[in-house]
């Protein structure tokens, strides 16, 4: 968890053993992390995992039950929201409908006591930077969803905060605009160089935009890392299941040979995998195995999959065509279990249809075994 601190001495924002309870419910459970200056840091987790609680504590709308929040070297405990050097972009943006675009952007500057002409200059340059020059006199309702988004961010960035807190601001947008805004947000973050702390339940938002992502579950951080680390080297079964898609088996360890384990799954097949998550596995341990759909090789003839560590065959149940992200749902012939397999973009499988027999294979390195969460040998996740 201190990894970020070691690599980078300029930590802008830090949470130490942050904890927040509501009655008996622990919303945030001893979370510690640091965000270096200029980072795009995302907290990714399912709804109700406590990510919004963390953000509201940073903004000052909630006081932590225990622990500390340090921004620019100063503890933020008992500092009211209007005195903190962070600003928040709300889920539904919270632009002030009773004010014009320019008044919205000027709001914070006026509160800081900036004079009229300086404020006007700053507002003008902010509007230019977000690509909306001359929109100052418009009312908020006249702007499109994406433009409102940019105003909401500009309204905070003109104040030059130590960090910008974003609470799922893309959630209310339609899919196409959301895809566009992902790229735009990343650009804006580069352009302004401000630290962004971004809360989302959408893994694609987190993976596309962030430098670092913390995956959160039930009040704890499961793993902090770069998007690549989370995707390719998940520390826990929750991360493996939550980030990206996976085929999943439950089974028991049959044999251990160095770094390779043989697992017999509960539906009766035998798979070679590597242990992940740093837990020491012994024969008889219950494990969960995760295999990404894109790690699986699909072939029409058996010879192609022959050299793979794990081999299965089955029949196509259906083809889920989605351009570059096309998948095939394959029913395994021995167990009847269904697998999600990504189709290669070579055009070789463009004629694939339901009922065809296919052969599947993947390497042992691509199947990751985690000690099962319910198994007695589970020592808990490093949260």
């Amino acid at each position: 968890m201190t990894r970020l601190d070691e690599n980078n001495n300029e930590i802008d924002l830090e949470c130490r053993d942050l904890r927040r309870t509501f009655g008996n419910f622990v919303a945030v459970d001893n979370v510690s992390f640091g965000v270096p200056k200029g980072d795009f840091f995302s907290i990714l987790g399912p709804s109700g995992c406590g990510k919004t609680t963390i953000l509201r504590m940073m903004a000052g709308f909630l006081e932590p039950t225990s622990g500390d929040i340090i921004i620019k070297g100063k503890s933020m405990l008992n500092v009211p929201p209007n005195k903190r050097p962070v600003n928040m972009v709300f889920q539904h943006l919270a632009l002030f409908p009773m004010m014009s675009v320019a008044e919205n952007i000027a709001y914070g500057l006026v509160r800081q006591g900036m004079n009229k002409s300086d404020t006007a200059t700053k507002v003008k340059s902010a509007l230019e930077r977000i690509g909306l020059p001359g929109s100052g006199d418009k009312s908020i309702k006249q702007l499109s969803g994406g433009q409102q988004q940019r105003i909401a961010i500009a309204r905070c960035l003109v104040l030059e905060p130590a960090a910008l807190l974003l609470d799922e601001p893309l959630g209310a947008l339609d899919l196409k605009l959301r895809e566009h805004m992902k790229v735009e947000l990343k650009k804006m973050q580069n352009q302004f160089g401000t630290t962004f702390i971004y809360i989302t339940h959408d893994q694609s938002e987190a993976l596309v935009m962030s430098n670092h992502v913390a995956v959160m579950n039930e009040g704890r951080f499961e793993q902090i890392g770069t998007p690549q680390e989370l995707y390719y080297h998940p520390d826990t079964s929750f991360v493996a299941g939550f980030v990206g898609d996976s085929n999943r088996w439950h089974g028991k360890v049959d044999a251990i040979d160095g770094s390779v384990i043989r697992v017999s799954t509960s539906d009766g097949i035998s798979l070679l995998s590597v242990p992940a998550g740093g837990e020491k596995l012994v024969v008889g341990d219950e494990v969960d195995i995760f295999v990404r759909p894109e790690s699986i090789i699909i072939a029409h003839d058996e010879a192609r999959a022959q050299e793979m560590d794990n081999r299965l065959s089955g029949n196509v149940v259906s083809v889920l065509f989605n351009g570059a992200n096309s998948r095939a749902l394959v029913r395994e012939s021995k167990t009847g279990g269904e697998l999600d397999v990504a189709l290669p973009q070579t055009g070789e499988f463009s004629g694939l249809s339901a009922g065809q027999q296919v052969f599947l294979g993947w390497g042992k390195q691509q199947s990751k075994a985690f000690a099962s969460v319910n198994s007695p040998t589970n020592k808990g996740h490093g949260g």
Partner: protein, 287 residues
């Protein structure tokens, strides 16, 4: 019969009760009142068209002083009601959640299940010379003898504000309920303090509710008869009492009708000015 004539007939039938009501109870009496106010009795049973009733109003100081006093007292009562109702409404709409919210809202409503007359008598029981407050003060040794707290402007004001409270709280609670909490949070987050957030975000948002509440309270207060008479007694000098006197005691319907129209003009002018000053429109606040 085709569908167009059918729908037109439907519209006419649906509008009919409203039109009958408006015509019979509002338009006809007002036209008759206007005609009465514009005639002068020159001899028994002989009338002439003239503006004498209106000139009388401006010549006789008692009349226009009562008129001005009623207007000022009504505006003050509206302002005081707003000042008390706003924090109450904010507390109900924004601070409370769930059952305690509806309970407190209901508590504001409960007194209005009792008639205005009974409520005003309640105030008289409290404030009169031999009343509750007077007795408590004597018992506590704060005063030597009985105190008369009725029949002054303060008593009228208390009664008017009390009577009007609900009509201010209802529109304010509903408009403050519609204020997104995140707007208030954003106001603080961007550096505003309690005062600036109130001034720049909460009040502008609540403006239609404030104006509609003020219009209703002002009109009710201006046209109130019972409360000023009972709590103010002879010194109440309320304009509606003046109209009553002309119609019932003096049997001078001509002057009474003219007063009625002056009161109508007064409330129209003040409401219009209020809307202009707050930059609201009637359709926005009442819609």
């Amino acid at each position: 019969m085709n569908t167009q004539t059918a729908s037109r007939l439907g519209l006419i039938l649906l509008l009919a009760p409203l039109l009958v009501w408006l015509t019979a109870l509002l338009i006809l009496p007002h036209v008759d009142m206007l005609l009465i106010s514009l005639r002068e009795r020159v001899a028994p049973q002989v009338y002439e068209r003239s503006f004498a009733n209106y000139t009388e109003f401006f010549i006789e100081p008692l009349y226009w002083r009562t008129f001005a006093r009623t207007a000022i007292m009504s505006i003050s009562a509206t302002a005081i009601t707003l000042l008390i109702a706003f924090p109450v409404s904010y507390y109900i709409a924004k601070m409370l959640r769930g059952r305690s919210k509806s309970f407190l809202f209901l508590l504001c409503l409960v007194p209005f299940w009792v008639s205005e007359l009974v409520r005003t008598f309640g105030w008289m029981i409290l404030l009169r010379e031999s009343g509750v407050v007077s007795n408590v003060l004597q018992w506590a040794g704060l005063v030597d003898g009985p105190v008369e707290m009725l029949y002054n402007d303060a008593a009228i004001m208390v009664g008017l504000v009390y009577t009007s409270m609900l009509f201010m709280v209802v529109p304010l609670v509903s408009i403050l309920d519609s204020l997104d909490d995140s707007l208030v949070e954003a106001g603080y987050d961007l550096g505003g303090n309690g005062f600036t957030v109130m001034r720049t975000i909460i009040i502008p948002h609540a403006m239609p509710g404030i104006v509609s509440g003020c219009i209703v309270v002002f009109m009710l207060t201006l046209g109130n008869y019972l409360t000023p008479i009972l709590l103010g007694g002879k010194s109440s000098m309320w304009f509606t009492a003046q109209i009553y006197t002309q119609f019932i005691t003096r049997f001078n319907w001509e002057l009474g009708a003219a007063f009625g129209f002056l009161l109508l003009a007064l409330s129209t002018i003040i409401v219009w000015t209020g809307l202009k000053l707050s930059r609201q429109t009637l359709s926005e606040t009442m819609g």
